[in-house]
Amino acid sequence: MSNQPNHYLPSFGKILEINQENTLIKSFVVSAPDSMQTAQVVPGQFFQLSALGYGEVPISISEIDYNKKTLLFCIANTGAITAKIHEMQPGDEIGIRGPYGNGFPIAALKGKNIVVVAGGIGLVPLRSIIHYSLMNQGYFNYMEVLFGAKSTADFIYREEIKQWRLKPDTTIKVTIDNPEKDWNGNVGFVTNFLQDKCPDHSEVLYNIDPSFKNTVVLVVGPPVMYKNVFKALEKIEFPDKQVFLSLENHMKCGIGKCGHCNCGEKYVCLDGPIFSWLEMKSLPKEY
Amino acid sequence: MVNWTKITDATRHYLKQVFQSDDLILSYTDSHTPGMMTPVVIRKAEDIDSIILNPICTQNLAVYLSEFFQNDIQTGKPVKGKWYITVKPCDVRSVIQMMADEQILKEHIELIVFDCDGTVTNKNLKELFKSEIRKVDFNDHQAKAETLLNEELTADLSGLYQVKCSDREICSIPAVNEFTFIGERERFEFSGTAKNTAIIQDTLTQEECFEKVSAELSKCIRCNACRNICPACFCSDRCVMDKPKLSVPYITKEITLDQIFQYHLIRFYHVAPNCTACGECERICPQGISLSIFYKYLHRMNKHLFGDESGSSDSDRQKLLSYRFGEDLV
């Protein structure tokens, strides 16, 4: 019992590089602590990052470089602790625990058509799976990324998106909520891509494969977006087992003890953060 | 002396006459916990018969008022009907103080004050019967109880009223607001006797006082119960204690003596101008801490230093307070 490791103690990684993604978001390349088994990290998992003296926050992994043993985190400056992390400089040490959570069911996604639906900073955890497809050419049959942001100022990963567009078997569609002056692209909510309201494409899912058999939808965004996505998918009778999303409940311990992320019989930190829509149906609407 | 059956019947009768749809009643009903009543919110006329009034109606119902109003502000739905609230004479002050603090709108509230000889807590009852009770009934000063083994016990309540019931000043109804009185007399007179405790600050030196207060407070587990039951603590979810912020790094959620002291001192100085000494914080403390050491002192100092008597006027702003209705940062 007590000769077990103390899971509450953080290890330390070094911040190697920091990039400003937009006014709110910075990305941090962090070298993984020696004790960490990076080979086991799965896209969709999260880590507990500490700014010691201020506190700890759960942050999804955006990219894992298995060779260099580095981790990429994209952190929005939304609270007191993330603000402190934003003040850190390359060379600083950052407290890190993890990886925690289940991650995307990578094995089950092999050979599938993947439709990634991201709302705003929801693209952060999904970047890990997009990156996975870049690193493992041919692992997925086809990938379509639908990214919606409030405005062009909220875009993240501009450079990466350009690169993703070059990749074969991958389509990227970007939309903003309201029209803007120098914007010629799509306007409207990202959920419109799933309905036939979208001006230049209709019904992305039908176009990929009208039987939906081999298609999986991965969606991350704010809680309201989930509601609209589910509504749209319900209309076209898309199978609920083939939809996965990530919950972002308040968390403290990351290991299923503190109780903050409890939602129904699930602990988001242990059983999640990735849930299928089917599982979500049995959960109370407390997310 | 109060005949509780008559009071209960008269209250129900009155409410049935005045109640209309959209109205709301705050009163007391049976809780199924022996020796305890529970507040009840009545929205339908047929539920009025569930109202029961007796000397274990200890809770101060004023605490619910600000919360309901805040709900209405948040949802943007204006209050439609009238709100009837049945209160003991001592609780009238809390409601009036909330009106003065612009936490509630007085035109929506009708006070129904019921006569009272003093109230007893379930802790008092336990002392009285020296046994766990299954059931208890009241008439006048008499309490008739049934023990767990169904033995019948009767006892006289008059010596066991809550400490606050010995303070005649708290019981007197300020003559500022219109209210309906349920009882046999118009002038309320306190007829019971209760144990009295002096304010310890009067008799002790500073060091002794600190020692005594520390001994009490070291029991605190910082559950926040005293804050959440307090009608004067209406910051609700915006309380500085809930979410320790970086801007106030000296507040943590630790349960150490200095943090406990800080919590109670901040809280009591916050509520000093509008605390009506209703004593709810002391009654409900799960750790049995005598919080009256603070509130009695502050209540008196407020009167002494500023000439303010909280709960005595529904329009005068207390001198220590200066915020406005609907203001974001209380």
Binding site: N6, H7, E248, L270 | T38, R222, N228, P249, P286
Partner: protein, 348 residues
């Protein structure tokens, strides 16, 4: 089962033997203000076993209300972490005279804090704790252990079990841990008589008479979530003041908060403190979104967690029917009534 007798007058020797073994004893007694509490006792006389259980649960000796997790110091841009282990956690202790409800609660804590990611600090406390259970003769008017399938004479989870009679206890050493205590008792153990098996049964009969009516909820075990959308919650959440008393005094509530304190520019520590699902801040996101925004959501969460979620996850109620939530509630919300209402709502 081997049973013995131990006379109450001989307990003096047991206590001094435990002292010699460096084992501290925690049991229910009165503090200096005559409040019934769990506390460290040095003699048998200090125990108040003929009272109901103290309102404050014994869990604060195993899972302290506040505890430092680690402290840190920064040196040459590098952090040094020192785990904080309180001396109490490795101190050998005996919980003397715990009622079956509280013994079950500790069983639950053990199960909960173990698992995939064991909570090492709390498990250390539990490892060094020996539980001496006692058959319950003095239930309160809020008790409902039988509703939660716990008998007032259940010895499950206890290392040693006592059955009280007027002059002596019938004592059973049940586990290896319990047997490690045998030496402290050995000098005063008397052999038991054939009739001693009767005592336990007598207590069960007598205590059952005192308990309030049992609510048959096994028929709805595993289905309580079906009451999620029923109107019954409003009645209780209307009057709940979200004081958190029920969770702080619950022997099976396990939630905690973790926060940092900076002591100087380079040093500080992380602590954890009890937290409660009744508080709005418990689930509040940094964005301002709150998954359980209303008092009703939070009250329902507490009930659902105790009576449904742990049934699904751990095949056990996380309630032992100790009645503390009922006793502490300042507005008279009665958990038994909620269970009754759930049952009615499901049978409609």
């Amino acid at each position: 089962m081997d049973t013995n007798r131990i006379y109450k007058k001989d307990m003096v020797q047991v206590f001094s033997a435990l002292k010699k073994l460096n084992i501290s004893v925690i049991g229910q007694g009165f503090d200096e203000k005559q409040r019934l509490v769990f506390k460290k006792v040095s003699s048998f006389q200090e125990l108040a076993l003929d009272e109901i259980t103290p309102l404050q649960p014994v869990k604060s000796f195993l899972f302290p209300p506040t505890e430092k997790v680690f402290s840190y110091a920064k040196q040459d841009e590098k952090y040094q972490i020192t785990p904080e282990t309180s001396p109490e956690s490795s101190e050998k202790k005996v919980l003397f005279g715990l009622r079956p409800c509280d013994v079950h609660a500790i069983e639950y804590l053990k199960k909960f804090y173990d698992g995939h990611f064991p909570d090492q600090p709390i498990l250390r406390y539990l490892e060094n704790t020996i539980i001496i259970g006692i058959a319950c003769e003095h239930p309160s008017n809020a008790c409902f252990c039988t509703t939660m399938d716990i008998s007032p004479i259940s010895s499950t989870g206890a290392d040693v079990f006592l059955t009280p009679t007027e002059n002596f206890f019938v004592i059973e050493f049940l586990t290896e841990k319990g047997k490690s205590l045998q030496s402290a008792f050995s000098e005063v153990l008397k052999s038991s008589e054939a009739t001693d098996v009767q005592w336990k049964q007598n207590i069960e009969t007598e205590t059952s008479k005192k308990l309030l009516e049992k609510i048959e909820i096994n028929s709805i075990k595993g289905q309580i979530n079906k009451a999620y959308d029923k109107p019954l919650w409003k009645k209780y959440s209307d009057v709940c003041v979200a004081c958190g008393g029920c969770t702080f005094d619950c022997p099976t509530c396990t939630c905690f908060d973790m926060r940092d304190v900076m002591e100087s520019k380079k040093t500080g520590y992380r602590y954890r403190a009890w937290d409660s699902c009744s508080f709005a801040s418990f689930t509040l996101h940094a964005s301002g979104h709150n998954p359980r925004n209303t008092k009703m959501d939070r009250l329902r969460q507490r009930i659902m967690h105790k009576y449904h979620y742990t049934v699904t996850n751990m095949q056990t109620w996380s309630c032992t029917g100790c009645g503390r939530c009922v006793r502490v509630c300042p507005v008279g919300i009665n958990t038994r009534s909620i269970l009754k209402d759930i049952k009615e709502a499901l049978h409609e």
